[in-house]
Symmetry: C2
Subunit: 212 residues, 2 copies
């Protein structure tokens, strides 16, 4: 059977070179985020005390990112939300990612933004065990995005910064537009949405496909 | 300019007869529902006392439907949710419409169903001021639907029971599939979704179009 094995191996190699087996377009993992907080080291120390370091409880799927033991109260003119989880490590600027529903509770309208795009965003009060801060900016609703490596981007025929449409199957299915590709070599392939977006499309049970 | 005015009037009439101006396909009003309860008169009396009548506080956009002063606690094996609003009038069967997020809080998985389609749905405990009930069925997540008159259905070229796709514009836009047309002559034109579905697509600011 040697020649059939050789033939099979050659065929497989040819198919792989054609890119057909390199990535299943239906198999993008889904990462669902609830409201959460990224802190600068300076803000962390104001809230938790001088020299404070975050306590990792769980690695997240993105490399180097982790959930922390620490939580904060966030507060606006209409109300407060307790036990909002901090994600580590610390960043150059504090950023608070909330749900659309939280805007009503807090009494603050947050814009839909990509992570790090904080110019012109509203601030919010953070309350920790050793202090509180009124941030002058940093409150956002995260824009839907897909993290991937540059190789993934090549396989999906998309580019960093490109906006694509995602299709979700099922009774609660549909499409999400303006999903931003975030491609670099420190990312793991993952479609990021918040809990309201996941629930609206019943995403825990659904399959994800990029359609353009 | 008389002949131009006459011409314009004739053109307008012709366009109207063609149905082009009878309904703006972008102007379907959106009705956003939070979790709520419909009760049978028997269940109402168990929860609030013999002979109890609901107290209307606000008319809803659907004819004869109204929000009530009365609320209940709903409870499952994992947790309870307080102050869930009752909508009137009473119905032949009790029906509890919750959000996907509530399933986690309550510890009960509710199916996505159209109103009234309760066979095989899970039950839930209702707690009122004068008594409580463990319903054997009636817990659902509402399937997205559009109420309309039969004339509206004709204008939109859809039929009662048909499933359509809805397009939503904007940064958080996209499409919702499997939106059921509910056409009869006791309905007002309205696209019904729950708060998670509205927030996920930023529907308060968006325009709605039926695409097939």
């Amino acid at each position: 059977m040697g020649k059939y094995d050789d033939l099979a191996a050659l065929l497989l190699e040819a198919i792989k070179e054609g890119g057909y087996l390199t990535k299943d377009l239906s198999s993008i993992p889904v990462g669902i985020s609830n409201r959460h907080i990224h802190l600068s080291q300076a803000d962390l120390e104001t809230l938790f005390g001088a020299g404070y370091q975050l306590t990792k409880t769980k690695d997240l799927s993105q490399p180097m990112q982790y959930a922390c033991k620490e939580t904060l109260i966030i507060a606006g003119p209409k109300g407060a939300i307790e036990k909002v989880r901090i994600l580590g490590p610390t960043r150059s600027e504090s950023q608070i990612e909330i749900l659309q529903a939280d805007c009503f509770k807090l009494g603050i309208t947050a814009p839909v933004r990509l992570s790090g795009d904080l110019q012109g965003t509203p601030g919010i009060t953070l309350i920790g065990p050793k202090g509180s801060i009124l941030l002058s900016k940093g409150l956002v609703i995260a824009q839907r995005h897909i993290h991937m490596t540059l190789e993934d981007a090549k396989n999906f025929s998309v580019a960093d910064g490109e906006q694509v449409t995602i299709q979700i199957d099922g009774l609660r299915g549909g499409t999400y537009s303006n999903v931003v590709i975030r491609a670099n070599n420190t990312s793991a392939l993952e479609f990021h949405i918040d809990t309201e977006e996941a629930n609206a499309m019943h995403l825990a049970d659904a399959r994800i496909t990029i359609i353009k």
